[in-house]
């Protein structure tokens, strides 16, 4: 059980690392490699996370909904890039899509605060995120863009399954007595 406890935030971090790497590669390849793209990804992700942690976490939707929203926004970016390569005139759309992807980590941290110490939560998530960055970059170089599409979906399924590992939705706080999150400590 302790292993699963650690594994879950790490898996989430892995998913976030893959999503961020994937967004960055996709957008720099087929939108623009300019600093504006870096800015777009970084700022909108951070803004999405801020919205997630302060507002969206209070909504009574299960975490899976936000994972789904992140994946839908991620693939919407990919589809839009395919339809309109180098179409920088629609950057506000990308901004919204990236921010929607970024909401999930914000909600994740806010809700997990009730079940993990902040130290454990950030440590395990960051380790997973780091592995996501490394794997996303290396696997992309070795196997191409298909990795950017398969890996996030695969890991997202694992995240959902791990969150539901005991088939009692142990991490679905909207359905537990511990929701809404309470101050830790």
């Amino acid at each position: 059980m302790e292993l699963t406890r650690r594994f879950y935030p790490a898996l989430t971090g892995l998913l976030l690392g893959l999503l961020q790497t994937g967004l960055f590669f996709q957008l720099t390849f087929t939108l623009s490699s300019s600093f504006r793209t870096f800015l777009l990804v970084t700022l909108c992700w951070l803004i999405g996370s801020a919205v997630g942690v302060t507002y969206a976490a209070k909504l009574r939707f299960p975490l899976e909904i936000f994972i789904g929203l992140a994946l839908i926004a991620y693939f919407a970016c990919a589809i839009l890039l395919k339809i309109l390569p180098f179409g920088t005139q629609v950057w506000p759309v990308y901004a919204v899509l990236i921010a929607l992807t970024g909401i999930y980590p914000g909600v994740f941290f806010a809700r997990m605060a009730a079940f993990y110490t902040a130290r454990d939560l950030f440590l395990y998530e960051n380790n997973g995120f780091l592995i996501g960055l490394i794997l996303g970059t290396l696997l992309f170089m070795m196997f191409g863009r298909v990795i950017l599409f398969i890996a996030p979906v695969f890991v997202a399924v694992m995240v959902v399954k791990t969150g539901d590992i005991r088939h009692n939705r142990a991490y679905d706080f909207t359905r537990s007595a511990d929701y809404p999150p309470r101050p830790a400590g």
């Binding site: 623009s32 870096f38 800015l39 605060a113 079940f115 950030f122 995120f129 070795m142 863009r145």
Partner: protein, 499 residues
């Protein structure tokens, strides 16, 4: 589900700190120091994609280290740690360069690939990541609130870089020092030490430009064997890379991007002759495009024989430094048939309606994924679509074209997906091979030979299209789905340093 009780003796009390202030400036400073770290370390380790990845790994390992140590950090340690951090970070570019210079002078440059990434987690990123878990787990604030504030700090850090990063390292460090001093104030450091640290920071920031140039020149003289007495004319971080201009005692100037020589001496000029002057003389293009600015000597050479030359460059800092320090080679101040566009070349080609008689490339080798896309089949196909009938692409193969050379064969394979004819020239003077590609080359092998001889090139080999196809053999074109070439180049590059 899990125990959340953390001994409060290790925590902070609300009466002694302002948690939100600390995590806000911590978030901002993490972004600022990452900006400096990535550019400096990538340069010192002679940036390739794997080096960038290595630096990123080190940075995030530091975050994990900070998170992991958070519950062991005592309140009394925070102020000394913050003071040490202030000193180490404000001097980071200087002492990192001196460490690498010292290692190289002992013949141990390769150790830098271990020492610097090992130092980063300990002295760069771990300090700031201690605060959030420490404050939350000791009951000084709720995670959603403090994490939200830290994210806001990070957003401010990004905006500082976007709006003011172009003003240089000194400006970034002004904000960085202010942030860390405010953290110290929030930690309730005594007023006198705080004022002393503020004064020291101001003095250091005034000295920094000189120290920066001095240590930069020391590093380049040691690592790139530049002549003794070489000085730094210009050194700055752009949004994309570190840009350095150095000058030898004889007045010769060098342009380095992320520590890699982009222009300097005769070799660099010969590259511009083969990719710029020769095709321009043979074609007399009405409209020409140069992809990548560098010293802009190539554009000047083309402008001598062209109606109009457009240079497209993603990094405005490269253009500005080139205009300012390389006017003697690019004659920008006197030529009136040239223009410069600041844009990503892929984006520019995809969106322009202009067509060209000659497109020449002056881009860094495929050391990183982003630069590798400029050698991809899809990019060459996009260029081909913007050439007039009989138009020519002059491209760098970035190594010596041979059956056992993967890089040049794969670039040539990319060219063959977009053009019917590809002639490759291997120049002894430049040390690399170059290609002229077109669907209908308007000049032949003999014309190239004559032009090369006229340029003073004596030792060269020319491969016509059938020979190019034979050497390329089964080499795969570079595509967005086959970037393994970057991995190979990065590994070879690091391996060379070890050997």
């Amino acid at each position: 589900m899990t125990s959340l009780s953390i001994p409060r003796t290790f925590g902070l009390s609300r009466s002694t700190i302002t948690p939100a202030l600390i995590v806000f400036f911590g978030g901002a400073n993490l972004i600022l120091i990452q900006w400096v770290l990535v550019r400096e370390l990538t340069t010192l380790l002679l940036g390739t994609e794997l080096v960038t990845l290595l630096v990123t790994i080190s940075y995030f390992l530091g975050l994990s280290l900070g998170y992991g140590l958070a519950r062991r950090i005592r309140r009394a340690w925070l102020i000394p740690l913050a003071v040490i951090t202030l000193i180490l970070h404000l001097t980071l570019p200087i002492w990192f360069r001196l460490v690498v210079t010292a290692l190289d002078s002992m013949g141990l440059y390769a150790l830098a690939f271990l020492v610097l990434p090992a130092l980063v987690p300990l002295v760069i990123s771990s300090f700031y990541s201690v605060f959030l878990p420490l404050l939350v787990d000791s009951g000084e604030g709720q995670l959603p609130v403090l994490y939200g504030v830290e994210l806001l700090g990070s957003i401010c850090g990004v905006m500082i870089l976007f709006l003011l990063g172009g003003l240089g390292l000194q400006t970034v460090f002004v904000f960085y020092a202010m942030g860390l001093l405010l953290i110290l104030a929030a930690l309730k450091i005594q007023p006198l030490p705080l004022v002393a640290l503020a004064i020291m920071s101001v003095v250091w920031l005034l000295i920094l430009p000189s120290a920066n140039k001095w240590s930069n020149a020391i590093w380049y003289m040691q690592i790139h064997n530049l002549p003794s007495g070489t000085t730094t004319l210009f050194s700055s971080y752009s949004a994309y890379q570190k840009v350095d201009v150095l000058q030898g005692i004889g007045g010769e100037r060098y342009l380095f991007l992320d520590g890699l020589e982009h222009f300097g001496g005769v070799d660099g000029s010969q590259l511009n002759v083969i990719l710029g002057r020769i095709p321009a003389q043979l074609l007399q293009p009405e409209n020409a495009l140069v992809i990548g600015a560098g010293s802009m000597e190539m554009a000047a050479m083309i402008a001598d024989s062209a109606g109009q030359v457009t240079t497209v460059e993603i990094d405005p800092l490269v253009v500005n430094s080139s205009l300012r320090y390389f006017d003697s080679v690019n004659q920008m101040s006197s030529l009136d048939n040239r223009r410069i566009v600041i844009d990503d070349a892929k984006h520019y080609i995809a969106n322009t309606s202009d067509r060209y008689d000659l497109v020449s490339t002056d881009t860094p080798a495929a050391y990183a994924i982003q630069t590798a896309t400029l050698y991809s089949a899809s990019f060459y196909q996009a260029i081909a679509a913007h050439l007039n009938p009989g138009g020519v692409l002059a491209a760098n193969l970035t190594s010596s074209f041979a059956p056992d050379d993967e890089v040049s064969r794969r670039i040539a394979a990319s060219l063959l997906t977009a053009f019917d004819e590809v002639i490759v020239v291997t120049s002894q003077a430049a040390g690399w091979s170059f290609a002229y590609a077109s669907d209908d080359l308007p000049f032949d092998r003999a014309a190239i030979e004559n032009a090369l001889r006229a340029s003073g090139e004596t030792g060269f080999v020319i491969f016509d299209t059938p020979a190019v196809r034979a050497v390329v053999g089964d080499a795969r074109p570079i595509t967005l789905d086959s970037m393994d070439i970057v991995l190979h180049i990065s590994l070879d590059w690091i391996q060379d340093r070890w050997n």
